[in-house]
Amino acid sequence: MTDTALTNGAVPVPVTTRKDWSSDQEVRWCPGCGDYSILAAVQMALPDFGVRRENTVFVSGIGCAARFPYYMNTYGMHSIHGRAPAIATGLAASRPDLDVWVITGDGDSLSIGGNHLIHALRRNINITILLFNNQIYGLTKGQYSPTSEVAKVTKSTPFGSLEQPFNPLSLALGAEATFVARTHDMDRKHMIETFRRAHEHRGASFVEIYQNCNVFNDGAFEGITGKDNRAEMLIPLEHGQPVRFGAEGEHGVVLRSDGTVHIVDVAEVGEEHLLVHDARRENPGLAFQLSRLSRGPFEPTPIGVFRDVERPEYGQQMADQMAMAESRRGGPGDLASLLRSGSTWTVGAG
């Protein structure tokens, strides 16, 4: 940190660079792991967010992804498997002054911690959840995960897995999430922009990041995130813009009268009939449709912000209730009167 600058308000926030946000700990992911680029994107993004290191906390569960807090020069907690959303809930509800981030993997958040994830989302806790989805258990060396495709052959499923995977975005939308987005580890700019939007949102923000595990599930997203495939396979969602993709914008998405969305050739249907993306819609139905446009990272897949709506944030509501209780009682609690608030009687001396 070198200087201080004035941001929007009158409070000076130190000017920082990526280096200020990097801890002195040696990063220990496998060489080539997608986690590196996500870490770099976060460390590069934060200096522009106008926030302070001392007011920033990263909370994680267990998994490769969950090592993340050790590498951030902020406050941090590497907790236990699946429980980060619960721990972050207590922290964020107690300390509305903090920026609380949750770093989690697909096993951490959707298997062992699925319950905490959905409840944090529905409560709209003021946290930013980054789900590193590599469709595999990395840290335990390559078992299938709740986002692995059907029939996946792994160490624990030599004959192929039998399970229908979760669609993390559909799940988050079903759990009443107010901010839902997707990005991927091959596009730093897109990641930074998505993190910025997620961070600005008051309440629970959910970001799925397609992340390559080059050791146990290499190339899982290559078909859509590879440099040469992106134009044809990624559908960028931009609020207020027609949904279209392809090198020349030749493909697009339309909304049919039965409420379903479909990929079309723009030339065939006409530009004016394309769906115009509206992330602010109260009703999550359309966002849900978009989340199901692709069955997996082998078909054209939307990325960007699917949903971004306002709803009161839990910590703020909790603080409001406390303030209301205080004003109703005419001031903060008095211990001596509390202890005498039931029926009491006095025993005299002698």
Partner: protein, 638 residues
């Protein structure tokens, strides 16, 4: 009971009486008992109560399974238990009679709602013949009172439907007992007004039933006389009647106020702990945050997150919830952050006996985590003592940056006793002592913050909640290097950390009072060692034994980990060490392992507390005294 009055018309004076109200779960017996207790407390009696109710909200009406009872012991001297054997039973139906006749004292008064003794109800309770007529109750003085019919009769012209009017019969019973024991009626009438003010018809029916019960006593000439129990000579001061759960909640608030740490409760509803949540959620104006989580894991997780944020994190639960919290307790031990886990013990294993009491979680509290994971354990011994125990748990958690388990149980949670309200300025001060700046130097001499550099005296690490520039640091469940707190897989460092964590908890022994031995002459040969809610029964048994001119000593442990520093030396002084517990002998195992003494377990696991007489008999036996019908009737003691 001693009877000291001779005047025919004045009430007979008793030194104490044990009354048990029993009826169907839907009959309002808990409310009735509670009201009688409050008016007795306001009269200045010493009191102890024992609510005893089924797990089902409404078991089938009229069955033994559905019987709900409330036992209250009132006295003109200080008492320790809700009483072994009731002197008076109020039975609202045959099932309530059948479930309770076995425990009555000889010659007890039995007041039955005779209207409920029809053939169907008798059959439901499992009676083949009517006990009111077959002579099976000849050991007792039985009064048959038509409670239902009088109650409906008096409300006939009040606009209440007969079915609804009938519901007020518990107030008739309350009125009758209030007359029999000369309790003033005004406080109860005022209470009915307040409680049912919003429902004028219900209010009216309850008032009429209550007054009808009172007047029935006066005019029916059924009873030879009424009785009175004079005020007890308690220590001067202001008193409240308080349950263990309320005392726990208030103790936590008091600790929050005394430490300046806002309270955060993360919890999930479970019997018999939920009332702590209910109570704390009323007190948001104390800066109390209550969070009803999605499960117990999230409850403790959120509490730990709050502690990381510099608040007082607390979680409350009972046995099944403790199972779920174990992993997070281990994390809290590794993170070395303050946290209080309240376990209101109940019968186990599994769902067990949700509404019945047990002390079988001690070894779980002690050892129920993987790895070497010690934490301090504090146990409350009476309902009111839950207040002090909660403050002590917080004090240790904050001072030593550690999770602490506070053990209470179902009996303490719902039982009540008069509580001498403390002067808040005399409560222990608790100092959070947050880290304010660097505490070490880097290799190049620059000041830096090391999150695991310990205080030399307490071995506690610094507590540095987010928000302070320069103290940014990461903590986690992976083993940490001594001092810097960086991740370390080094075996020798791990061993050092295991020993440091253990030494920190063991060192608390220097910071807690030595055990007080209650041994009048100092020359008893038998020592009774207890912990938790057995306090009242043990102390009462000890009084009874001494009243026979015999010697016995009593030690009651509040700190179970670490033990007080002098405990080993105390145990070694006695020929016989008896350890009564509502479990299979968990403390006795710890004492044997720790001190190599032949501690003898006295075990009972029936979901109910020990009776003083049971313990008296065992102590007498170990003293080599054989007394025909060994237990005294408790005249002098209890």
């Amino acid at each position: 009971m001693s009877d000291t009055t001779t005047d025919e018309h004045a009430p007979h004076t008793l030194d104490r009486v044990v009354i048990r109200f029993a009826g169907d779960s839907g009959d309002g017996m808990q409310l009735t008992g509670d009201r009688f207790t409050t008016s007795s407390a306001l009269l200045g009696n010493d009191i102890a109560t024992f609510p005893d109710f089924p797990a089902e909200i409404r078991a089938p009406a009229g069955t033994l399974a559905g019987v709900s009872a409330f036992q209250v012991h009132i006295s003109d001297h200080d008492i320790l238990t809700p009483g072994d054997a009731p002197n008076v039973l109020v039975a609202m139906n045959p099932a309530a009679l059948r479930a309770n006749t076995g425990i009555l004292s000889p010659g007890a008064i039995v007041i039955v709602n005779v209207d409920a003794f029809d053939e169907r109800s008798l059959a439901k309770a499992g009676y083949e013949a009517n006990p009111l007529t077959d002579g099976s109750l000849s050991a007792y003085t039985v009064y048959e009172v038509p409670m239902t019919s009088i109650t409906t009769e008096v409300s006939k012209d009040a606009g209440v439907k007969p079915r609804d009017a009938e519901r007020s019969k518990n107030f008739f019973a309350l009125g009758l007992i209030s007359w029999l024991y000369t309790r003033p009626i005004e406080p109860t009438l005022a209470w009915i007004d307040e409680r049912f003010g919003g429902k004028p018809l219900v209010r009216e029916a309850n008032v009429r039933a209550f007054k009808a019960g009172y007047h029935f006593g006066e005019t029916a000439e059924l009873f030879e006389s009424s009785y009175e129990v004079r005020p007890a000579k308690l220590e001067p001061g202001e008193y409240a009647n308080i349950t263990g759960n309320i005392a726990t909640a208030w103790g936590l608030i008091a600790a929050s106020v005394r430490s300046g740490l806002p309270l955060f409760l993360g919890t999930y509803p479970i019997t018999p702990a939920s009332d702590i949540l209910h109570e704390l959620s009323k007190h948001k104006h104390f800066g109390v945050r209550t969070f009803q989580a999605e499960d117990e894991i999230a409850g403790i997780g959120a509490a730990l997150g709050a502690s990381f944020g510099g608040l007082l994190g607390v979680t409350t639960t009972s046995g099944p919830g403790v199972d779920l919290k174990s992993e997070t307790m281990g994390l809290a031990i590794s993170l070395e952050l303050p946290l209080v886990i309240v376990d209101v013990q109940r019968g186990g294993p599994s769902t067990g006996l949700p509404t019945k009491t047990e002390q079988a979680d001690l070894l779980h509290a002690m050892y129920g985590r993987h790895g070497e994971a010690p934490l301090p354990i504090v146990a409350a011994k009476t309902p009111a003592h839950c207040f002090d125990a909660a403050i002590e748990a917080v004090r240790l958690a904050v001072t030593y940056r550690t999770p602490v388990m506070l053990l209470t149980d179902g009996y303490l949670a719902n039982g009540t006793e008069p509580w001498l309200i403390p002067d808040v300025d005399t409560l222990p001060a608790i100092e959070p002592a947050f880290a304010t700046g660097p505490n070490a130097e880097g290799p190049d001499g620059t000041p830096r913050f090391e999150p695991y550099r310990r205080d030399e005296r307490t071995l506690a690490r610094p507590w540095a909640p987010p928000g302070v520039a320069g103290l940014e640091h990461r903590v986690g469940g992976l083993e940490k290097a001594d001092g810097t707190g960086s991740v370390s897989y080094d075996g020798v460092n791990h061993e050092r950390m295991v020993h440091l964590r253990a030494a920190k908890i063991a060192g608390i022994a220097r910071d807690i009072p030595p055990v007080e031995v209650d041994d009048e002459g100092g020359d008893a040969e038998v020592l009774v060692v207890g912990w938790g809610s057995t306090y009242g029964a043990i102390a009462a048994a000890v009084r009874r034994v001494r009243a026979r001119g015999l010697k016995v000593a009593h030690v009651h442990l509040v700190h179970l980990n670490p033990f007080p520093a002098n405990l080993g030396e105390v145990l070694a002084r006695y020929r016989t060490v008896l350890v009564p517990e509502i479990n299979m002998g968990q403390l006795s195992r710890l004492l044997r392992a720790e001190f190599l003494v032949p501690a003898e377990s006295v075990s009972k696991v029936q979901g109910v507390p020990f009776r003083a007489a049971e313990l008296e008999a065992i102590v007498l036996d170990r003293l080599g005294v054989t007394v025909a019908a060994a237990p005294s009737d408790g005249k002098v003691s209890d």
